[in-house]
Chain length 490, copies 2
């Protein structure tokens, strides 16, 4: 792409002062429309070292109100980030609805650097590109306008700039070893940039190459690009991407109606097995921590199915320094204003740690679907989005486990009644629980479709028959122990 | 304190099964009361290496619902934290109202480690202890129950435990070089612990020493301690600490009525000075970045005084990778549920970066005071709390600057009218602005008291006469440039 760009010797007609002013005013008024339309915009600025990405952003935000944008820069202490999946840093910084987020730089640079260091072999590169394309598609499908900009300069121009920077004490620190290396290996680097851009250019997130040689020209082109892209999105909406045909290898699923709920355990069997499984889990937790393997466990289930008690039997075997339980309720305003997976991405465990979600991202295809809190298109698309999310976790090296804690309606009724009649348990039962209960068939349909479409081999569902809570707890511990042992062997 | 503790050879009467069950049930029911009373609880667990802090927490949280607590552990990648003030990590992890936060470990360990490394000389130690006492007092005054626990074991017991841990591959990694060192220098370490505890023991945040030798005894004592401390707080409230008599060295302040608002600049003068000041600011920003000096700027001022435009004249001189503007509006629910300074602590810049707050923590003594959003005790106490907060920033090495952007009521009126009559500016004017305008005298009183009580030498106020916006912009840039130059020399 860069070579072709160089060939298109475009003659640049410098804009008049009036044109610049008009364009700046336009951008400034567009930010209000962004806010009114709740449109979030991601501007990813990539390019050569010393191409002027930062100063270009600086020139553009001059007329924006700080309430409407953020600038995300690469952290200078990446150690923390290295303990999370590749996309974690980027996903956790997406803007909320109505705001612009500039990324200087975004997810391209990390990838191209890894290519340079030969860390992404054939398969690794393919997987990385698939992750990025899924990420960008998800952003777009969830209403984000994505503007990807590459600022291009020639080898000669880059060398000139690096030398100039190095000549002053106050700017010399800006020139990194990598910048120098990049200039010496310009051709190879260009090939990597080209390959990356070709592989990630999509109708909903195309690349825009800017000639960075002349600053004023670059600023003008960027201003025009932003105003036209934003105007266009406001007028015509965000292009909906096509869902990929990718098939996730699935495991067999059992519809809820066919689950045998009769199993139970005596108190004695329960206690004996609980002790030995918890001891084993404790040992495994130690090994996981040492080997830096992250574990993500999602609990879903009927109200009063016994999720809480089940989770406690797992956590009481764990060192509290190594796990966190995330109870998931209705999203807060700042969460609601972002991609629905954002609040889960930002709650991922560090490697070696365990995160347990008491309710999870499956809310999208359960409560949000049944209660009409999102559109049908939204929840239908979510199966793929969720499978992709869990694939990211698995590729990162996480053990991903999902439990459906299952009971029948009669058991639920008797537990509701017990809660109602026991003063210290009354807080656990609300009018909403009763309302949800009336929608049992709709929820059952949603659960079955969820089990069918997200029971992937990478992140399987396990149904825990919980009419007898003791049985369900032992079952959960056993599945967890078995899965962790398998993962540690594999 | 530890030596006396050792002397008090308390005879331990093991509790019966019933007593343990009753205590656990009590704790479990207390968490609901915490939630109902919106009481936040901080449990700081400190103690010797291998004393069993983590496993004690694990034993205690067994009966708690994960919705009601978090466990904060020391990050294993502290580099990022090193770029913030000492208290940043702890302040950013305080729980929200109605929840428990366990700290394993808290702010004691960092301090004692620094003592061991001889990093805290006489003056540094005193300042550190003052910071910690202010922090704990602020938590308590703002409704946090603070429970500080030290788990004690003997040198012999510690050695035995470390050896046992080292004998297994899966636990050997838990023994740090420091644990070994601590055991070898047990006496000195005990002296440091003792000194720290004596210097930070207050009526509102006393120390509790637990004998960690026998696990079951320690668990029982901790359970009892937590239940009694929480019950007591629920019944009798949090003890209000006494505000310290500490005098902050103040600068002279000028009441708003006496500010000369007549100054103005011609367009030509403005442009010439703007260019040269912005150029200089850009250079200074580079040096600050290189020298890792953080800068915190707070903007307050009347509606329509020109804060936004003023800030933009500053930021357009800055590299967007090195600054962030934080527009401060009404707090979100998760912010409102915490100490009012929490949302500012969590927005501090990294060292070498600039944070500009468009409205700030002064909301406490301005809008919250005038609109009755907090109690009189709250805002009266806030002057000290804010001075302490800014002192932390200054001691950390930050340059702290505060601007009051000032206009007279007539100028405000004409700007409001202009906004109302200009379609693209209408979003800037709301009914609330008109309502606030009617309260001008009450706000003026609040501003004057703020200027009087927080115009410290460490973090001075600067009034920017902004009837002529150009004059105010140049003034802000000049003060900023002068202050930064002085800081770089000093």
């Amino acid at each position: 792409m860069l070579k072709e760009f160089e060939k298109q010797a475009k003659k640049f007609v410098p804009p008049s002062e009036e044109q610049i002013t008009a364009c700046r005013e336009k951008l400034s008024s567009l930010q209000l429309q962004l806010k009114a339309h709740k449109l979030p915009v991601v501007v990813m600025m990539e390019g050569w070292g010393a191409a002027g990405k930062g100063s270009l952003i600086g020139k553009v935000i001059r007329d924006l109100d700080p309430r409407f944008y953020t600038v995300n820069t690469k952290s200078s202490t990446p150690q923390e980030e290295d303990r999370y999946p590749f996309l974690w840093r980027h996903f956790s910084r997406i803007p909320e609805a109505g705001k612009l987020a500039f990324f200087d730089t975004g997810w391209m640079q990390d990838t191209v650097r890894a290519m340079e260091r030969d860390e992404l072999k054939k398969k690794g590169y393919k997987a990385r590109i698939a992750s990025i394309n899924a990420f960008e598609r998800q952003l777009s499908d969830n209403g984000y306008l994505l503007i990807k900009v590459f600022v291009h300069i020639s080898q000669k121009e880059q060398r000139k700039r690096l030398e100039k920077l190095e000549n002053s004490k106050n700017t010399a620190w800006r020139v990194s070893v990598h910048d120098r290396w990049q200039n010496l290996h310009y051709e190879d680097c260009r090939d990597n940039f080209d390959r990356y851009m070709e592989d990630t250019s999509t109708p909903w997130a195309p690349w825009h190459i800017l000639d960075g040689t002349k600053r004023s020209e670059a600023v003008w082109n960027l201003l025009q690009l932003l105003t036209s892209a934003i105007s266009n999105a406001l007028e015509n909406g965000i292009p909906q991407a096509q869902l990929p045909q990718e098939e996730f290898p699935m495991r067999k699923f059992i519809p809820l109606q066919k689950v045998d709920l009769s199993a139970s355990l005596s108190q004695k069997e329960y206690e004996a097995q609980l002790d030995s499984l918890q001891d084993r889990l404790q040992e495994l937790h130690n090994i996981l921590y040492r080997k830096k393997i992250p574990v993500v466990i999602a609990y879903e289930g009927w109200d009063a199915a016994g999720k809480g008690g089940n989770i406690r039997r797992v956590t009481s075997a764990l060192d509290p320094r190594g796990f966190q339980v995330h109870p998931i309720a209705a999203p807060e305003p700042h969460e609601l204003a972002r991609h629905y997976l954002w609040r889960f991405w930002t709650r991922l465990p560090k490697d070696g740690h365990i995160a347990i979600f008491d309710r999870s991202w499956y809310g999208r295809v359960l409560v949000e679907r049944v209660e009409g809190l999102c559109t049908e298109t939204d929840w239908k698309r979510a199966y793929t989005e969720i499978n992709e999310f869990e694939k990211e976790l698995a590729y990162w090296g996480a053990v991903v486990l999902k439990f459906w804690v299952h009971i029948d309606p009669e058991t639920q009724l008797s537990r509701f009644q017990e809660r109602q009649n026991t003063p210290e348990k009354q807080w656990k039962i609300t009018d909403e629980d009763w309302r949800n209960r009336e929608k049992w068939p709709a929820y059952q349909e949603a659960v079955n479709e969820m089990l069918e479409k997200t029971n992937t081999q990478l992140a399987p569902w396990h149904i825990l028959p919980s009419n007898d809570k003791k049985f369900a707890r032992i079952q959960a511990l056993r599945i967890l122990v078995d899965t962790l042992e398998k993962a540690l062997k594999g």
